[in-house]
């Protein structure tokens, strides 16, 4: 009782603000300007994935009076980086599923609907039930949209049957992909792995799928009966030259057929035939026993069709969010920020990018709330543990310019190691969960 009255004796607001400053320090943020700390700004976050939840947690700690709303209907949290391990039989599907409610800060208002229309000129978002949500500040964190429809004849419900595989669509699809890969790894045949021309999330995932399938073929006896191919719609298979060469050498060691500037344009699932369109527009069709489809990706429709999307440049086609690549602030609407895969910035689109960019977005948003210029800058950190086989991996970390930026200088990013495998298999998910809570 006495401590309660003591508490009411001191200025409660000051007490809360002091607590907020401490929490902000814990969250890795610098000093919070008083104007931001006291602000009761309406902050709306669209998307409760890796970026959205992580930002909500950090903002809830840093801004005790802010009115924070998060919009997303999805209640199950997908640990997307684990899907490659599900799709190759190393993890059970249950290991990548969690509940968003377990990570949602209690003082955040969670609207379980989808953002349908962005009206940045009116500072409001309209949801798919027609609810109007007004904001002072907006963080767009709604990830990517898989455009399987761009591949004629593709049906995500058929994943797992007739040799059709695709790790990307969902944890279910990843588990069914393992059904297809397991069969292929025993029976062998013609296996085709694809890479589209659009930006994709985790550019290493299609490569991991290929390398781990090669390993499964060795383990399950199908290697002698298998011919594997990798058809990339780009000029290479990975954006960093050294790794591109490493991968092409690895593919060559397995007598893989590699083709560039070949985009998967159609699939006949029943007949197991895939059609590729070449750069000159010519098409050719080939039969397969296993086809691993990587869908073209773009920003979710609500972003793509809004004033928030790029209208020119190489990010316009996918309707990606038009943010400044350094501050992650929107280029036209200063009260809008973007975080995660939705951003129209070079490279990125990994959970590791989210981990490094969330503190930048939060710091800059707080500056803007305080009426200051956003000064924290993001270097484009992207990371991808490239699983080269079961039991070995490479930890690749790089920035916008493709410079290698290893977190731990004693880890050689060009060496395959068991250490990196342990990181991926054991340590990265716990770290990811800490990121969701706003701790890393």
């Amino acid at each position: 009782m006495s401590s309660l009255s003591a508490l009411s004796g001191i200025n409660r607001r000051k007490f809360l603000l002091g607590g907020a400053a401490a929490m902000a320090a814990v969250a890795g943020l610098g000093a919070i300007p008083a104007r931001a700390e006291q602000s009761n700004a309406k902050i709306v976050i669209t998307g409760a994935g890796a970026a959205g939840i992580s930002i909500a947690n950090r903002l809830a700690k840093a801004l005790p009076n802010a009115n924070i709303t998060i919009i997303d209907r999805r209640e199950t949290h997908y640990y997307w980086p684990g899907l490659t391990l599900v799709a190759t039989g190393a993890w059970a599907k249950s290991k990548v599923l969690d509940r968003n409610a377990s990570f949602m800060p209690s003082r955040v208002n969670w609207i379980k609907e989808m953002a349908d229309v962005y009206e940045p000129d009116n500072k409001r978002v309209i949801t798919d039930t027609g609810r109007v949500v007004e904001y002072d500040f907006l963080v767009v964190a709604s990830g990517v949209e898989y455009n399987y429809d761009a591949i004629e004849g593709m049906d995500v419900n058929a994943i797992g049957q007739n040799g059709l595989a695709s790790v990307y669509n969902s944890p279910d699809a990843a588990a069914k992909t393992w059904d297809a890969i397991r069969k292929y790894s025993v029976d062998g045949g013609n296996g085709i792995f694809t890479l589209p021309s659009t930006p994709i999330r985790c550019a290493g995932a299609p490569l991991k799928m290929t390398l781990l399938t090669l390993d499964r073929l060795q383990q399950n006896g199908g290697a002698d009966k298998a011919q594997m191919s990798f058809y990339s719609a780009l000029n290479g298979v990975f954006g960093l030259p050294w790794y591109n060469d490493f991968l092409l050498n690895r593919f060559a060691e397995h007598d893989m057929d590699v083709k560039f500037r070949h985009e998967l344009s159609a699939v006949d699932i029943g007949a197991r035939k895939a059609t590729f369109t070449q750069e000159d527009g010519n098409q050719f069709t080939t039969e397969y026993d296993l086809l691993h489809v990587v869908p073209p990706m773009r920003a979710p429709r609500s972003v793509r069709e809004s004033n928030l999307a790029w209208t020119e440049g190489n990010m316009a086609a996918g309707g990606w969010l038009a943010v400044d690549r350094d501050t992650l602030q929107h280029l036209t609407y200063p009260e809008v920020f973007g975080c995660g895969d939705v951003n129209g910035t070079p490279r990125g689109k990994t959970a590791a990018t989210v981990k490094m960019s969330v503190p930048i977005v939060v710091q800059n948003l707080i500056s803007v709330i305080a009426g200051e210029e956003p000064e924290a800058t993001f270097d484009g950190y992207t990371s991808c543990p490239l699983l080269t086989r079961f039991g070995a991996a490479m930890l690749i970390e790089f920035d916008y310019d493709g410079n290698l930026t290893p977190t731990y200088s004693f880890i050689d990013p060009k060496k395959e190691s068991w250490f990196a495998w342990i990181m991926k298999d054991q340590m990265l998910k716990p770290t990811y969960l800490q990121m969701l809570k706003g701790n890393v």
């Binding site: 070995a392 977190t407 050689d412 190691s417 068991w418 495998w421 342990i422 340590m427 701790n439």
Partner: protein, 112 residues
Amino acid sequence: MEGLSLGFYMMVGYAQTHWLVIALFILGAILLNAASVMKFGGLVKQSALKPTLMVGLAIAVVLFLAIPTLSGSSFAFMAYWLDWALLIFMAVGYAIALLLWVHPIVRLVKGV
């Protein structure tokens, strides 16, 4: 500094993920030590130290040999000094932790 903080939270996250195993391990250690203290008094007995360390060493050797396979890998892929450092760290670390079980068990078996 950033690397240190990341490493710290990585370990916190790992501990949280495996909280049940850790809780059962601690509970087991408390029960076993309580049983040996109640029966023979004193938390550590000099006469049980040598066999405890021998068993601990044996556990470390077994773990050293088994961890690569248990983690879905193999000795063939351990080509980097860091791999060996991690393997030794894990084998020795788990073995040291297991001493909390081994010592009271040795005492109960030897009756000291």
